[in-house]
Amino acid sequence: MDAIILQILNGLDKGSAYALIALGLTLIFGTLGVVNFAHGALFMIGAFCAVTLSRLLSLSHQVAVPGEVDFLGNPKMREVPYAYDIFGENLGATIIDWAVPLSILFAIPVMIGIGVIMERGLIKHFYKRPHADQILVTFGLAIVLQEIIKFYYGANPIPTPAPSAFVGSFDFGALIGFDPGTIIYPYWRLVYFAFAVVIIGAVFAFLQFTTFGMVVRAGMADRETVGLLGINIDKRFTIMFGLAAAVAGLAGVMYTPINSPNYHMGMDFLVLSFVVVVVGGMGSLPGAVLAGFLLGILESFASMREVIAIVPGINQVVIYLVAIIILLTRPRGLMGRKGVMED
């Protein structure tokens, strides 16, 4: 029982990342009708926003350590962050420690900016072009973005730890009546899940309860009519693109303490997030979220030893197998709308 609860937690956690990326992808599909292969790259750039900020905060100058030498025989240098000089040693250390959460503030404007520039500068010209052309241009863009990151940050993963307050695990089992120590779960992963829920909730609330959101939803359903009513839907869609980029970017920022970011992490998630979006059903935001969590949980269960023992290799293919089964039984995914991206 406790094993199953743990795997559900794992699944929700993995699902959070899938759902956040798929949510943005669906927003772009739904509003602009564009197949955005650069969406994984946006997730990756978000993660590197966190890396950049933590590097900026820990920018240091060198102070010679008297009496010691390094491996080449030169005087040994010690790094002292500028933050220590500005804020004092204690506050400086705390700020560096909290680099990842602070990056949220940094990443939102950056990601919205990147999103808007991308939409205005490139994607805009591809609305009327075939999906194939959209794939080629966004894939090209994804490669360019990832190579730029590789050029500046190298190919190795870069450790970006969570604030020390969140290191360690939470005894989840003790809360719900299990023996202490049986169900423990890392704080940061719980934070990630909560964060995902908040972001998803905020996006839905924004679309559901604001006039802006109402217009966007109307535009998703019938763009032409909304345009005929004299509403500048293009401008709103541009903002939605920026928003989708920000959602992907924030998913990336918060993901960095879970796994050290590297330049190709976007590509690793790209295919998976497309599967999630399609399984959820094209054009359906709740579908994308539902599919994200569903696939995350199934993936977790499939990696249990007991399951692998029955079906060897199931952990390798479970997501794709489930995708095939769902698409064959439900023609438009879990909650897809008729006629979206079917031709």
């Binding site: 794992n10 491996f71 450790p159 695990s169 796994n259």
Partner: protein
């Protein structure tokens, strides 16, 4: 302006009367020299085939740096590095057999197809007489087979799977790097000494060849010490989040977790394992421990704080104090400003060993080189006295058991040497079950 590397084509050209029209076709198979890409001009071309894109790009870049340094030393530039400490004194710093060393580079992308394409272009287009490099066993095995077929020498870079000199060994291929078996044999006694003989191990293993051989090696060595293996689970290569593989460890009664992962897999699985508090765990009154059989400094950097105190093995480390290592670290550090990785070391040594073998054989012909390398004993290359065994073309030398340093002094100072396991302890018979199957075949001169 012109790059003066004399390739097979260049050589053929000199035979033609300048400006003359058509000459008679020359069959590749009927070259006078009797072997593929025989260098006849004043230079010789080597092919450095390393991952420049993909997850191991950083290791590939370090390998390339080492090769450039080796070429410099072979051509008599720089401070000579390990050539001064190498026990064989055949190399004189005037290139190889008096021919200036030139090189071509390629990108393996850590894919066997791309690696072979790149190696083929070096052989067919650039006239390379030796191919070296690589950062994964899949690539090493694929390129080794290609070199055997084409009749050039392959000096493997970083490849740790038993198969490279086990079931997939080839006469034209040589490996200086250590292997899974040696990791297991070196690690087990240290683990038993530090963690006790009564331990229950749980393995997470990358689901491909290297993972299988490493799991098998570590499992059999630790079981011989009295450990019990309570579970082994295979994880997909493309896995990034290992949480669903880590939580079952919490449920088991295991008190040691062995992560048979490398590269990005290792960084992520170790990070996740530490996240789930495994290192603070007590099981059966014992402190829970994590072991990473194959360490690499570049990967340790990716895992950050999480490597502290974790045992593993490596082929070489820059903090070694012997003459050879110091000479190499000094010339590498002077040129690039930071110490070399183990990948750089093995590649540098391989380049020197090849050049020395050619020099001693007096010929570039692969069969002559193979003969010179087989059973060759040397010293002064950073690993103590070393033997290139004739039966499987594997180097036998001391193995380092290391652990993550508690108080690193720089971003390169991440591992500390716990023990230098003497070579006798990691030696095995050529027909050991973990290396069974396959045949060396005979050396191939190609043309």
């Amino acid at each position: 302006m012109t790059k003066g590397n004399l390739t097979r084509r260049g050589v053929l050209k000199t035979g033609a009367v300048a400006g003359a029209g058509l000459t008679l076709p020359t069959y590749l198979r009927a070259q006078d020299s009797g072997f593929t890409n025989a260098p006849t001009g004043s230079t010789v071309t080597l092919g450095f085939n390393v991952p420049q894109s993909g997850p191991y790009a950083e290791e590939g870049a370090d390998e390339l740096r080492a090769y450039e340094l080796a070429v410099e030393h072979l051509n008599g530039e720089g401070d000579g590095g390990m050539m001064n400490t190498f026990s064989s004194k055949a190399l004189k710093g005037n290139g190889i057999l008096g021919k200036k060393v030139e090189y071509v580079t390629g990108d393996t992308q850590t894919k066997s197809d791309a690696a072979r394409a790149s190696a083929k272009s070096m052989i067919e287009k650039d006239g390379a007489v030796m191919i070296t490099g690589g950062s994964s066993s899949g690539v090493a095995v694929a390129v080794q087979a290609l070199c055997q077929e084409a009749g050039v020498i392959f000096m493997a870079g970083l490849t740790h799977s038993n198969d490279t000199t086990g079931k997939d060994k080839k006469a034209n291929g040589f490996r200086h790097f250590f292997n899974s078996y040696m990791s297991g044999a070196a690690l087990a006694p240290v683990l038993a000494a530090n963690y006790g003989k009564d331990r229950k191990a749980y393995h997470l293993t990358a689901d491909y060849n290297w993972g299988y051989t490493t799991e098998e090696a570590v499992k059999s060595s630790t079981e011989a010490m009295g450990w019990e293996t309570v579970g082994t689970v295979l994880t997909p290569l493309t896995q990034t989040d290992f949480s669903s593989y880590i939580t079952p460890v919490l449920q088991s009664d295991a008190d040691v977790l062995v992560l048979n992962h490398y590269g990005g897999n290792m960084v992520n699985s170790l990070t996740n394992a530490v996240q789930f508090g495994l290192r603070d765990r007590m099981v059966n009154g014992k402190q829970f421990e994590i072991v990473v059989p194959l360490y690499s400094r570049l990967m340790a950097k990716g895992a950050g704080e999480n490597v502290k105190g974790i045992f593993g093995s490596t082929n070489w480390h820059w903090s070694l104090q012997d003459e050879g290592s110091q000479a190499f670290v000094k010339s590498f550090g002077t040129k690039y400003g930071f110490p070399p990785s183990q990948a750089a070391h093995t590649c540098y040594v391989q380049a020197l060993l090849y050049a020395d073998a050619v020099e001693r054989a007096g010929s570039f012909a692969p069969c002559a080189v193979v003969e010179a390398l087989e059973g060759f004993e040397f010293d002064g290359m950073g690993n103590g006295p070393t033997l290139y065994r004739a039966e499987d073309h594997q180097c036998f030398k001391d193995v380092l058991v290391v652990k993550g340093k508690e108080n690193p002094e720089s971003e390169f100072d991440l591992l500390e040497i716990v023990e230098v396991t003497p070579v006798d302890q990691v030696k095995y018979a050529p027909d050991h079950p973990q290396f069974a199957g396959g045949a060396l075949g005979t050396c191939n001169n190609g043309a």
